[in-house]
């Protein structure tokens, strides 16, 4: 403690999100001194997500969280909704999995709970404090500057989220490009639990997730989402910032359009807006992972762009990367070695885990998706609905004639060359995901 009052400690973690908390608690459990600095008035107060957290990775760090943490609902149904202008096709997978479930949570409550556990385990949590700068001496990070003071430490872990101004300060990250992030807006809509249960076909404590394609986002790299909380619905969307810029779209107007869609509107009818929010999502994937370590410093979670956007996974990659950074910090502390070489172990551990393996599997996804957004996120989605429209319409036109017309239109509207390009792109993508 005396060292802390001298403003010197063993590890400083910047950012009280899942990455920072997992990291800090891992270090504290090994008996080392760690300070977690969070700019919000409490952990979670600046954080926004869909969303759902995944039980398995959290259990690795907080084995009892399912009994103790503020959880909304256990998700038993995933729905994939492809919206046309008026119509929609919905695929649904229902299964009450209690082995590896996901839970809807509210970050203002959940992150706060995580931080309280960390405090109980010896992490010193400093809230309402912004780290403005890293202190560097002889090319080694040796501490942080807040508004009021300087704190020194052997290691600094950056878990400061998607905007990571600190990673930028030390040159680990380039300037971000609009296509490397999605801008997300969300509304939390109050609805009593009985209505939620009826509308989503649930019992108390059971939840449902909607992933939404098309609709107002047709042709853009963007997804909508709905999550059910105990007594509210979280509805939102995330769209590539490049698409919003190119098309000059106001994000909240896009969300208003989504809320009006005939498939979505009845789900939120008569609800009252509790809170509007916005946040960025890192979308760059594997190719945009920054430098992950340097002398005296490591970087975890969204700050390291560790998000698997296809699967809406972020909190799990954040927690596991935070934990791995924590484990490397412990080794470094035991050896008294905070060099770049020592901390490079963190990157190796990440590469051996699902975190980097998954991002590598999907390394080509964003490039292909950007290039073919008009077809994969537009034309084909429309055609799914066109197909079901044709298939379900009874109008005394002979079926063979209808099929022929559908196929003819399908090819004509997109033209053969574009279809081949799409097929090639899809093949390349599947190859890179499944083979190498």
């Amino acid at each position: 403690m005396t060292e802390i009052s001298n403003n010197k400690t063993e590890v400083i973690v910047v950012g009280g999100g899942p990455a920072g908390i997992a990291c800090a608690v891992t270090i504290a459990r090994a008996g080392h001194e760690v300070i977690l600095i969070e700019r919000g008035s409490f952990a979670g107060s600046k954080n926004v997500f869909g969303g759902a957290v995944y039980a398995q990775p959290i259990r690795e760090i907080f084995p009892n969280f399912e009994k103790e943490a503020p959880i909304e609902r256990l998700n038993i149904e995933h729905k994939y909704a492809i919206l046309g202008n008026e119509d929609s096709t919905v695929i649904s997978y229902r299964h009450k999995d209690t082995d590896t479930p996901s839970y809807s949570v509210i970050r203002g409550k959940f992150d706060r709970w995580l931080a309280e556990q960390a405090k109980k385990e010896g992490v010193i949590v400093v809230e309402e404090t912004v780290v403005r700068e890293l202190i560097i001496e002889n090319e080694q990070v040796i501490g942080v500057k807040t508004e009021l003071e300087e704190y020194y430490s052997d290691i600094v872990v950056l878990a400061d989220g998607v905007n990571s101004l600190l990673a930028k300060q030390i040159g680990f990250r380039d300037k971000m490009d609009p296509k490397d992030v999605a801008l997300s807006v969300k509304e939390v809509i109050k609805l009593d639990s009985q209505k939620i249960n009826e509308r989503f076909n649930l019992s108390d404590d059971e939840g449902c997730i909607y992933e939404i394609f098309g609709g107002p986002m047709l042709g853009m790299l963007g997804l909508g989402f709905i999550y059910t909380n105990k007594e509210s619905i979280s509805i939102g969307l995330g769209v590539g910032l490049d698409a919003l810029c190119d098309r000059k779209i106001k994000p909240y107007e896009l969300l208003d359009e989504l809320k009006k869609h005939p498939t979505i509107a009845p789900l939120i009818k008569d609800g009252e807006l509790l809170e509007y929010s916005a946040h960025l999502i890192p979308e760059g994937g594997y190719k945009k992972i920054p430098t992950l370590f340097g002398a005296g410093v490591m970087i975890a979670g969204d700050a390291a762009m560790l998000v698997n956007n296809l699967h809406w996974e972020g909190t799990n990659l954040a927690m596991i990367s935070g934990k791995l950074a924590g484990e490397t910090a412990i080794r470094a502390l035991v050896k008294g070695d905070f060099s770049e070489k020592m901390l490079s172990r963190y990157q190796k551990e990440l590469e051996n885990s699902f975190v980097i393996k998954d991002l590598k599997t999907y390394r080509n996804l964003m490039d292909e998706a950007h290039q073919r957004a008009e077809s994969f996120m537009g034309y084909y989605l429309e055609q799914v609905n066109e197909f079901f429209k044709m298939f379900t319409t009874v109008d005394s036109v002979p079926k063979r004639q209808k099929y022929h017309k559908f196929i003819f239109d399908f090819i004509k509207k997109r033209n053969i060359i574009e279809l081949f390009k799409d097929a090639f792109s899809a093949f390349k993508l599947f190859w890179s995901i499944l083979i190498k």
């Binding site: 700019r39 954080n47 203002g108 809230e127 912004v130 801008l183 910032l241 807006l273 916005a278």
Partner: protein, 91 residues
């Protein structure tokens, strides 16, 4: 529901000075004024008469989109002070 109604649901503790400082000279020659479109909190407004960008920083949701999207890359963008800015209860 207008964006102002939406923002009314957000809890803020505004700072006395702005944490968002675009280079207002550069804004004058900016073609897209893209910040006025993509900002989810309608923080930026272009006053055609005065040829000036107003910054309603009190409404900022601290997302960071304007920092990345700015046509001239000219926004000096910081987080508000530790006890200031937005507090999400349902994020």
């Amino acid at each position: 529901m207008t964006i102002d109604d939406k923002l009314f649901t957000v809890k803020y503790k505004p700072d006395e000075s702005s944490h968002l400082r675009p280079d207002l000279e550069k804004c004058k020659s900016c073609k897209s004024k893209i910040c006025t479109t993509i900002c989810p909190a309608k923080v930026y407004e272009w006053e055609e008469g005065e040829k000036k960008l107003t910054v309603n920083y009190e409404n900022c949701l601290e997302c960071g989109a304007c920092r990345i999207a700015c046509e001239k890359n000219c926004i000096n963008w910081e987080y508000p002070k530790g006890n200031k800015g937005v507090t999400f209860k349902n994020g």
